[in-house]
Symmetry: C2
Subunit: 501 residues, 2 copies
């Protein structure tokens, strides 16, 4: 924990002053059909009465602190000023109200404040951090005798990512450039004192997200101490039997969540493996290897004599938010993938590998004997389902030699594409990587463009937590006001483009 604390990065501050006054328009090409149009008006020329609203557009996604000057005109201010202020990452959020929201996820995430000001003029400074591009200010009431005037809005944007350390990639392809740039911004806006999953929501460190953020970081900002901090945080807060939580909280003090995901715990090994590939650090390796090994040992308890992974409800595998498909084969593959990485670490530590090698062999054997369908050229699941996730993870796990992996991915494209019922960029990342990994660069780029590129077309400045191109308006939680439109696990093009393009 102490070593983790030593790596707390400084937050860089950037003042954002440029903005437009905009209004919402109908625009079928944008998310939810909501576009914006710049109004040719000076903010400080607007004298705002009860019910008036104004939308400020800061032209890009930011994470930070908002402030604005307010004064009154007309008669003396004979009542407080009441404002509703809403912060939005995408314009579509303004088409929804918090009173309508009735999802299971906490309403508290809605970025909305009701402010009473007893004395004007003042500079209104919001103490909370928000993730936003747009600020909507609605005057709930002044009094019939005076109006409110707003001026000099400002954002102090924060991030621990240091732009000066970044050597940006250039692409001839316009869309790849857009995708890369938005990926960088997504990563940057999630880099705070830990790698957050989303600066709007949930604002905390998830292990599955960390793995991808770390990969994108090695390909861009290279602020490896932040990865180190996060690895130590997870390592320091296991359960009594050594299991790592799916996520941890850091404020007011570090505490692990009581949520556990099978694949996330295992990915501690993979994240450690990647880190050590990036930077030789014997001390960290010493500190964390036993904890990594524990994840493997705990996971192996769920493997039966025949090499079959049998998960329980209390320790589910994630793979993707969607529960529309059987994840058993993907889980089997993730485990195989991780044992292979673990064996590399074990060798460095001069640990006797025999037990792990045998388990790997058993699991691969089960995969090939029981799950592989030679006739179809695809992996089935234990429930006899053929889905993309199974192929993708078996390919990433190199269960077959590369030539066969390519055949599998070709068959996947032929029989299982276009992608359906996958809700998150998290799983899309793995599909794209499996295509790259199998040597299908063109297909990989095509999918990247049709997915991340589609978000760009719909107006994304940063990439979203969830996106289904077939249902662009789909929200995991029932309303855009609760959705996260800058979400770490979608920054992966930064890594994929660096590694494969």
């Amino acid at each position: 924990m102490e070593k983790s604390a030593r790596c707390i990065p400084p937050l860089h501050h950037e003042e954002i002053h440029d903005f437009d006054v905009v209004e919402l328009t109908k625009d079928d090409k944008k998310l939810e059909g909501v576009g914006i149009e710049i109004k040719k008006v000076e903010l400080s020329a607007l004298t705002m009465r009860k019910g008036d609203r104004v939308i400020l557009d800061f032209q890009d996604h930011h994470v930070g602190y908002f402030s604005i000057n307010i004064h009154s005109v007309g008669s003396p201010m004979d009542a407080p000023l009441t404002l509703q202020v809403r912060f939005a990452e995408v314009a579509a959020e303004f088409a929804y109200t918090s009173s309508e929201y009735d999802g299971w996820l906490s309403k508290s995430w809605i970025q909305e404040e009701m402010i009473h000001l007893d004395v004007l003029p003042c500079r209104l400074e919001f103490p909370r951090r928000y993730a936003f591009r747009y600020v909507e200010i609605t005057v709930i009431d002044t009094s019939p005798k005076w109006q409110a005037v707003f001026s000099e809005p400002k954002i102090i944007a924060v991030s621990s990512a240091d732009d000066t350390k970044l050597q940006k990639r250039s692409f001839d392809d316009w869309m790849l450039q857009k995708i890369y740039d938005a990926g960088i911004k997504t990563l940057k806006d999630c880099m705070m004192d830990v790698f957050e999953d989303g600066p709007k929501r949930d604002r905390r460190l998830w292990l599955g997200d960390l793995r991808l953020q770390a990969q994108a970081n090695y390909a861009s900002f290279r602020q490896n101490d932040l990865v180190k901090r996060c690895l130590y945080l997870f390592g320091a807060m296991t359960t009594i039997d050594g299991k790592i939580s799916a996520n941890v909280f850091t404020s007011p003090a570090p505490v692990p969540d009581d949520t556990f995901l099978f694949d996330y715990s295992l990915f501690f090994i993979d994240t450690l493996y990647d880190y050590l590939n990036e930077e030789n650090n014997p001390e960290l390796f010493d500190d964390l290897f036993d904890i990594a090994r524990n994840q493997m040992d705990l996971a192996l308890r769920y493997v039966d004599e025949g090499g079959k992974l049998k998960l329980t409800e209390g320790y589910p595998v994630f793979v993707d938010w969607s529960n529309e498909f059987d994840k058993s084969t993907a889980a089997q593959a993730i485990m195989i993938y991780t044992i292979k990485r673990f064996l590399v670490l074990a060798e460095k530590k001069e640990i006797d590998p025999i037990f792990y090698e045998r388990m790997l062999e058993k699991m691969e054997r089960y995969a090939i004997d029981k799950l592989w369908d030679e006739q179809k050229g695809l992996f089935r699941t234990n429930e006899n389902e053929y889905n993309i996730a199974s192929q993708v993870w078996m390919v990433l796990a190199d269960v077959f030699p590369m030539k066969k992996s390519r055949e599998i991915m070709e068959k996947t494209v032929e029989l299982l594409f276009p992608v359906r019922n996958i809700a998150t960029p998290y799983m899309y990342s793995h599909i794209v990587e499996a295509l790259f990994h199998a040597g299908m660069k063109e297909e990989a780029i095509k999918l990247m463009k049709s997915y991340w590129g589609r978000m760009i077309e719909l107006g994304a400045d940063t990439f979203w937590e969830a996106f289904d191109p077939d249902h662009p308006s789909y929200s995991l939680y029932g309303s855009p006001i609760i959705s996260s439109y800058c979400h770490a696990w979608s920054c992966t093009p930064v890594y994929l483009l660096e590694k494969y393009v």
Copy 2:
């Protein structure tokens, strides 16, 4: 202005820790049929989920700052906490919601906050000042995984009234004691850095209220410097032609309102007269006499050759909030009343009184010749209406000798009582005083009990801005959440009981 600033009083702070957890009950004997019942429960034993609410009762009206401890129980806090917090002077306010309020008075006065807390545990300290006895806390959302727990609520009550300077009166009559005590509390809770009209709303210095607060102050706290401060404030901020505003604002800097009331401007003279009766202060008299004289000179422009007061729309007379009656005779009387006071001041200043004496004579002549109905024994108005306000102010102005004044008040009781269509304690005070003035002590006390005593029966801790015993639920502004239940102009029993009982 400088002399006014020198008299800014220190605010005394009192910590209030005692409270009950209560629930609302149906109670036909209380205002709007809303009573309270103490719940036998420890606040800190309540683990509150989405939608749960709790009402804290601090057992008396207070003005000040509220704070409370909050922590979470259950899983780690995986979302912000959102609270709605409402402050109420009377329990009936909780029967209304701000979203339903659609009156003309600013919604901003509703004492309600929406609070988001990102990190628990914390001590939530509200920066704004509220006037309240009750605090309702509603949990808008936590998350399904944890609950909020509240403890150690505290009020830091503020007032510039110094209890140690107060020699409270004792009455054998239980109800008079209650009325007196609530009057003292009303006065105290309106004594801040000026005499406020109401600590909930409008929180500012009105001249009509000041006159009555000063009278009550001389009968209790005797903090005359606060009156001095207020007199200087009004005196320092007249219009170019010397007219005094009906009210002034003091924050962030002193500024007069653009509202002018004929009787309020005139009462600067009466308030100065009372002050000098209470405390000899040649400097203040020198500073303010010309300003007082200006109010008289400006008012006299509205008196025609025949001694008739003819007001215009731009400078209306107040008398009472109600516009259900013709105020012309009351206004004529208020002017006569004030000229008499002014002549006393003028004599002290050795000003030639002849002009003012002539105007007084003309106006009294008009009153007696044109408005007095000898047959009925009552004053009529210019619109030939017989109302209470006319009699009350003619009696207070001593237009007739005392014996006749008594006959007028007896006739008033006989023909015009019970009081109808008078909305405010402000006018009721003058009715009671006219009864006392005319020697009808028993009738005066009876009316005081049936009016202020009725508020006590309905649950008042402090006296209200508006109250019509025939329509207890009547609100000037359409909803109790916008009404002021501690309003300076209703503290007058303190003065009336001291002077006459």
